[in-house]
Amino acid sequence: MEVFVVSLLNGLVYGMLLFMLASGLTLILSMMGVLNFAHASAYMLGAYFAYTISVHIGFWPALVIAPLLCGLIGAAIEMWGLRRVHRNGHIAELLFTFGLALIIEKVVQMTWGLLPVPYRVPELLDFPLFRIYGTQFPAYRAFMLAISALMFGAIWLGLTRTRVGLVIQAALTHPDMASALGHNVPRIFTLVFAAGTALAGLAGVIGGNYQVTEPAMAFTMGPIVFVVVVFGGLGSLTGCFIASILMGLIQTFAVVFDVSLADLLAKFGFTVTSSTPFAEVLNVTLPRVGALLPFLLLVLILVFRPRGLMGTRDT
């Protein structure tokens, strides 16, 4: 029970972090058709910016400045890069963002080095918030949950209660019609791209010290975020939210249950020994398969439900 509650909380924290990354990516992908490989790079940049800023002026200013910097970079990439590449089709866009992701990785390595940087949880939040069944729950994780929930609320309100939000929703389904009605759709694209990148940056700020801030963090996080987006379905923030939480929970729970198929078979009175056929496979434990599960789900959902959980479009 204790393992269950703690894992549930940790899964939620990780899931919300995934959502912060995936929500921006899903908006960009549904609206502009751009599969942005560099999205997780903004997550990494957010973490590194936050590290540098917090060394000089502290964590709290970093919480605001780092995402803003990422947003500005995103706006510049959209206006001066993607928009030109867009005319040459999706493959060109894909390669462009892939190239960007590699460039950002190298730049990060050159600037901050190959080793992880000591980006730490701020002292103010570095204490156990409460104990359940003898296990501590750090205050910082609660803070991460709170920030993500606030963000989710803000996005939702922004999209449903403001005029810009309405135009974004309209441009999600019929961008040409929205522009024929007099809405500056290219500007909306820039705004969404910048906001999505800023969100990824924010995820980096609060996730970089929870996990590890190192040059490979973009390429470890990127694929999982893609899985979330495809799994949740294009054009649906709700689907994206559910998929994020689900992936967060699956990955967290997979790590804690140290069981294998052999253990399962043992319950039915069948003992696996080294001479049993496929003993190696049967002895693989769940934590070792954990990293594989999201991709397994990706493959399954593409075969059985290509639209994703709640997708509104087929593309």
């Binding site: 389904t173 019609m177 009605l181």
Partner: protein, 232 residues
């Protein structure tokens, strides 16, 4: 002339779709563009409003609009209703209409009350998602959404396609109301009945160019054009 199109060409990739189209619409005038499917009528609309890059001259109220973005063209006063209705399915009927406004809260000569009194069905369903409306209701909604932006000229592409006769009549009523308020209409149609009844002038298109221009009476007299370019 309010809208003046001269020697207009348009291309989709390498296909030469419009091959020198000339047409004009005066203030408050109702003009129809007729022709069979695939001759390029919808491309004329999309090129005028900037969704397809134009080659040639397009002047509106004495100012060149060729090469402007669709949203800029909307702001100079041209409204567009596409043939495939493109309602924003997840948004409510009311929100769809709000998006027709050029600025928040800035209704012009068309107000929510106008729309709702003309189409009580839309009033009843104003808080429902537009995606669940019937085809006819969606058609009225798209037309009204564009009217909310208070255009001086409205380009309407095949508003009666796929509608039951009773709904075709409703479209006719709305067209009459638009004309009564002095808004110019460029109507793209395949059905002759409505076009002949309401238009002051007609153009017939065939294979990327205009093959006939004249009054409804002249078209009624010209059996050759009707037979060659319109009748199936």
């Amino acid at each position: 002339m309010m809208l003046e199109v001269r020697d207009l060409h348009a291309f989709y990739g390498k296909s030469h779709i419009l091959q020198g189209v000339d047409l004009s619409v005066a203030e408050g005038e109702i003009v129809s563009l007729l022709g069979r499917n695939g001759v390029g009528r919808s491309t004329v609309c999309k090129t005028i409003i900037g969704l397809v890059p134009p080659v040639g001259r397009i002047d509106f109220k004495g100012r060149s609009i060729a090469g402007l973005r669709p949203d800029q063209i909307a702001h100079v006063g041209i409204g567009y209703v596409p043939e495939d209705r493109q309602v924003f399915p997840g948004l409510t009927v009311k929100q769809n209409l709000e998006l027709g406004l050029k600025r928040a809260g800035a209704t012009g000569s068309w107000t929510f009350e106008d729309v709702f009194s003309l189409f009580p069905n839309l009033a009843k369903r104003q808080d429902n998602p537009a995606g669940v409306l019937s085809g006819g209701e969606q058609q009225m909604l798209t037309m009204c959404r564009t009217l909310m932006g208070d255009p001086d000229l409205i380009i309407i592409d095949e508003p009666t396609e796929g509608l039951a006769p009773k709904l075709v009549e409703q479209v006719g009523t709305l067209l009459d109301e638009i004309a009564r308020r002095g808004t110019a209409i460029l109507l793209v149609e395949q059905k002759l009945t409505i076009a002949l009844r309401i238009s002051r002038r007609l153009y017939v298109m065939g294979h990327g160019r205009i093959v006939f221009e004249g009054t409804p009476a002249a078209l009624a007299d010209n059996g050759r054009i009707r037979k060659e370019w319109l009748e199936v």
